[in-house]
């Protein structure tokens, strides 16, 4: 074992360790601290840079400020239908009921939202939400949420933040997680965190794909660590392609174009000028759910009706320039600066881009507890709320509602297990984890991890695209096996230094990506139907039988296992709420 001896780590103790400083992590940290726990947040980047800042459109909450008919029941029904009914209905219920309170609370912490003329929080329409429901501030609602929570965290006693620290292994003792090993990015020094409870809020795994709206951080660390620690994952086949990413110029491919454009009236057209959504979802048109719009654009392109750069036109020019600049300021700026397109005069060119992971750690609806004691998960890393497809705006509300619930529960759990932090962790396990982390530094001839990451992205892009099939998925799995073997012996790409060495960091990130990618392919193989974000060309129909099944992923002695798990039926009052609203499937899915 090379450069660092296993003894060379610092030990830090806390009650609740929060991994990730996006919306869910910050909201969870505040809740845990308010419940009396000492809280430590570790994040891979600087505070305030998390992926939550990318959320543009708004936060969904049935406050009925704009449409008085709105209610939690309708929000619940929209969420369930959007998720094609495989959502955890209890999570969807809690989410719909509690999000208004969470939004108002944010306002009391200093967040500023756009207003109605009477001075209430304004709400904008969004894809697959029956009523205008998204509280927003221009098109930078995520930044507002992060900044508000960040300032709250900074001024909450009992919360500390360790920035640019990456956790690389979880440690258990007596079946409970009680330790996490991490390295500091700046100098490669090691820390052992010991805690009573751990809240995972690490976000998604968009880096599995080549064209993504996600940052370097989104390597699915939380999902992978939880899996390795024995926790169950769920719905891993469900990843969301956001229908509108930039396609041109090449340099900005994948960059998000907010759904707010369509919310504010933007129209989708193919190269013949036809509003093609008429053929896919005539009722909701551009404001259909994301899975439907993404597939529609995909189909248009495949049928030869795409734009010159392989996408669709998104046109908002019928709105006044003043309106566009006020409601969509960052989109206006983004296109002008990066594509030299003035969106007040010209249409945008858009195509689907990987955006969000609906699947993730399986959690209890009320407490966000995973199947491993002491381990909690909230936000994108958790699964259940969004089922087969997430509605726009439901992610920010997810962070707030379940971030708080997870923080509360983690604090209570830490309190009940005060000794957990000190309990015995096997030193051999620590040594092994550190050796694995350090190994690439000792392999100057090893393969370049950036190249391996690009190859993983190629495999997923080719084998788990918007529309999948059995042969493709199986071939993808085989290629992943090869990549895994190579990743296990890869180098750092050259640099041997511990000081801020992204090549070395990437070598470790590969391991997280591979777990996420394998879980996706395996789950996609066994869901033999098309539902939500998961479309199969060999099983194009939605199978009603599978509406009551989730696929659960687990680590076993024989490797990764996927098994179907039936979900209990909805109680009558919830089933009624879903029944009362209109058609469940689009004409496309009924065919």
């Amino acid at each position: 074992m090379g450069l660092v001896s296993a003894a060379a780590y610092e030990t830090v103790e806390t009650d609740v360790l929060v991994m990730g400083a996006g919306g869910a992590g910050l909201r969870g940290a505040i809740a845990a601290a308010e419940a009396g726990a000492r809280v430590l947040i570790v994040c891979k980047s600087l505070l305030g840079k998390a992926h939550t800042v990318m959320a543009e459109g708004g936060v969904a909450a049935a406050m009925h400020n704009v449409a008085y008919q709105d209610s939690w029941e309708v929000h619940f029904a929209d969420t369930m239908k959007g998720g094609k009914l495989i959502n955890n209905w209890h999570m969807a219920e809690l989410h719909a009921k509690e999000s208004p309170e969470r939004v108002l609370e944010l306002e009391r912490w200093g967040a500023v939202f756009d207003r109605t003329w009477q001075g209430r929080i304004h709400q904008r329409p969004f894809g697959a939400h029956t009523y205008p429901r998204l509280a927003h501030i221009g098109d930078r609602t995520g930044l507002e949420l992060i900044r508000t929570l960040q300032d709250r965290v900074v001024h909450t006693t009992g919360v500390e933040v360790h920035m640019e620290v990456t956790v690389f292994a979880l440690l258990k003792s007596e079946g409970r997680v009680g330790g996490a090993l991490a390295y500091r990015r700046a100098d490669g020094s090691l820390v052992l965190y010991r805690f009573g409870a751990l809240l995972l809020a690490t976000g998604g795994a968009g880096k599995m794909y080549r064209v993504t709206s996600n940052s370097w951080e989104s390597t699915g660390d939380g999902t992978a660590l939880a899996y390795e620690a024995g926790a169950q994952l769920r719905d891993m086949e469900m990843v969301q392609f956001h229908p509108t990413g930039m396609v041109w110029p090449v340099g900005v491919r994948g960059l998000l174009v907010t759904e707010g454009v369509r919310g504010e009236g933007g129209l989708l057209r193919n190269k013949d000028g036809q509003r093609f959504m008429e053929r896919y979802d005539p009722d909701r048109m551009e404001l259909s759910s994301r899975d439907v719009v993404a597939r529609a654009i995909n189909s248009e392109v495949e049928a030869g009706r795409g734009t010159p750069h392989g996408g669709a036109y998104l046109d908002i020019t019928h709105r006044s320039p003043e309106f566009i600049k006020r409601k969509l300021p960052s989109m206006y700026e983004q296109f002008l600066k990066l594509a030299k397109v003035d969106i007040t005069k010209q249409p945008m060119e858009v195509a689907p881009t990987i955006h969000y992971q609906m699947g993730g750690v399986r959690v209890d609806a009320e407490t966000a507890a995973s199947s491993v004691a002491g381990l909690y998960a909230a936000g994108e890393v958790a699964s259940g709320l969004h089922g087969g497809n997430r509605l726009g705006g439901n992610s920010l509300s997810d962070l707030l509602v379940f971030g708080k619930r997870a923080g509360d529960a983690a604090a209570a759990s830490a309190k009940k297990n005060p000794k957990a932090a000190a309990a015995g962790i096997d030193p051999a396990e620590i040594e092994h984890a550190i050796a694995t982390l350090m190994a690439p530094l000792d392999r100057p001839e090893g393969e370049n991890p950036y190249r391996l990451m690009a190859e993983i992205q190629d495999v997923m892009t080719e084998h788990a695209p918007i529309v999948r099939d059995e042969a493709g998925l199986a071939a993808g799995l085989e290629k992943l096996d090869g990549l895994r073997a190579r990743a296990e012996v890869c180098g750092t790409g050259g640099g041997q230094s511990l000081a801020f060495n992204p090549g070395w960091h990437t070598a470790h990130d590969l391991r997280s990506l591979l777990v996420n990618a394998e879980a996706l392919l395996r789950s996609a193989l066994v869901r033999k139907e098309s539902r939500g974000a998961h479309a199969r060309s060999d099983f194009p129909k939605t199978d009603d039988q599978l509406a009551s099944v989730n696929f659960v992923v687990e680590k076993t002695a024989g490797g990764m296992q996927v098994r179907p798990e039936p979900r209990p039926p909805m109680p009558e009052y919830l089933a009624d709420a879903v029944q009362r609203s209109y058609a469940l499937y689009t004409p496309e899915e009924m065919e």
């Binding site: 980047s45 600087l46 505070l47 305030g48 840079k49 998390a50 992926h51 800042v53 990318m54 406050m63 108002l104 306002e107 009391r108 200093g110 500023v112 939202f113 756009d114 207003r115 001075g119 209430r120 929080i121 501030i137 930078r140 930044l143 900044r147 300032d151 900074v154 001024h155 920035m163 700046a186 940052s215 041109w248 110029p249 090449v250 340099g251 900005v252 960059l255 998000l256 960052s330 700026e333 983004q334 600066k337 990066l338 370049n448 991890p449 950036y450 190249r451 690009a454 750092t492 790409g493 050259g494 640099g495 041997q496 230094s497 000081a499 801020f500 060495n501 992204p502 090549g503 990437t506």
Partner: protein, 254 residues
């Protein structure tokens, strides 16, 4: 589909020293400086330290000095330059490695600013708050800040030896303006501005406004109104008295 090659010169090194290193990067259409830097990292310099997250000018991570000018790498098209471009780390902060600097001072400053504090009455009401769009619009500009710290990098007060112990810098004038002009905030941060925040050190050169990628009019809309407010409170006892008699309401920005 390389159209041509770019001579990308990146400052490599740490606090002890370093040098500009040249990388030949194939240019593709619409490429931004960050793409070129990351290409060099993936293909030629795996251990090159650089911060980025959103690649969409929304997180403020990728700040650097490009051809000597503080900019976001993800928002700067290569096409704006010729066939060579030089990228250096921000100079106002201690260097960690390559393009990564230690910006922790900014986080410490932020902690010293008293947070948003609504009045007792607002705090205790169970009714959702009402605010007018025009009042929201006024603070919206300041709340756009992505904490890229480019304005801090360019401010000559902070660049000077000791400057950081005198002045919080433009980013935090924006922050204080956002709090002071928040329709529901009830604190008075004028003593802070006059004291530790060191607003008096700013001599309104407007360099900060010029580099702000969010186009926040830092000087005109934040600093100057804050200066007026501070001067009112400290040098015009009569007006301050009138204000106090007039119901103790906090004066709002001009």
């Amino acid at each position: 589909m390389a159209d041509s090659d770019l001579d990308l010169r990146i400052w490599r090194g740490d606090a002890k020293g370093g040098e500009l290193v040249s990388y030949r990067v194939p240019v593709t259409e619409g490429m931004v400086v960050l793409d070129a830097v990351l290409w060099a990292q993936a293909n030629m310099a795996s251990d090159m330290a650089v911060r980025w997250n959103c690649k969409a000018a929304k997180c403020g991570s990728c700040s650097a000095e490009i051809q000597g000018f503080p900019r976001l790498m993800c928002k700067t098209p290569i096409a704006d330059y010729g066939d060579h471009v030089t990228v250096r780390p921000m100079r106002a902060f201690p260097l960690i490695k390559d393009l990564v600097t230690d910006v922790s001072w900014n986080y410490e400053v932020n902690k010293q600013i008293p947070p948003f504090t609504p009045s007792e009455k607002d705090m205790n009401t169970s009714e959702p708050w009402r605010m007018q769009q025009k009042d929201v619009d006024r603070v919206m500009e300041f709340r756009k800040c992505i904490e890229c710290f480019l304005c801090q990098d360019v401010c000559h007060v902070l660049r000077n030896h000791d400057g950081k112990s005198n002045f919080y810098g433009p980013r935090f004038m924006v922050r204080i303006a956002a709090l002071e002009m928040h329709p529901k905030d009830s604190l008075d941060r004028r003593p802070l501005l006059k004291g530790n925040a060191g607003l008096g050190y700013c001599n309104v050169t407007k360099c900060c406004t010029e580099v702000c990628p969010e186009h926040i009019k830092i000087t005109d809309n934040a600093i100057i109104p804050l200066k007026e407010r501070m001067d009112d409170a400290y040098f015009d006892p009569v007006r301050a008295l009138i204000r106090r008699i007039g119901g103790g309401r906090k004066p709002k920005a001009v």
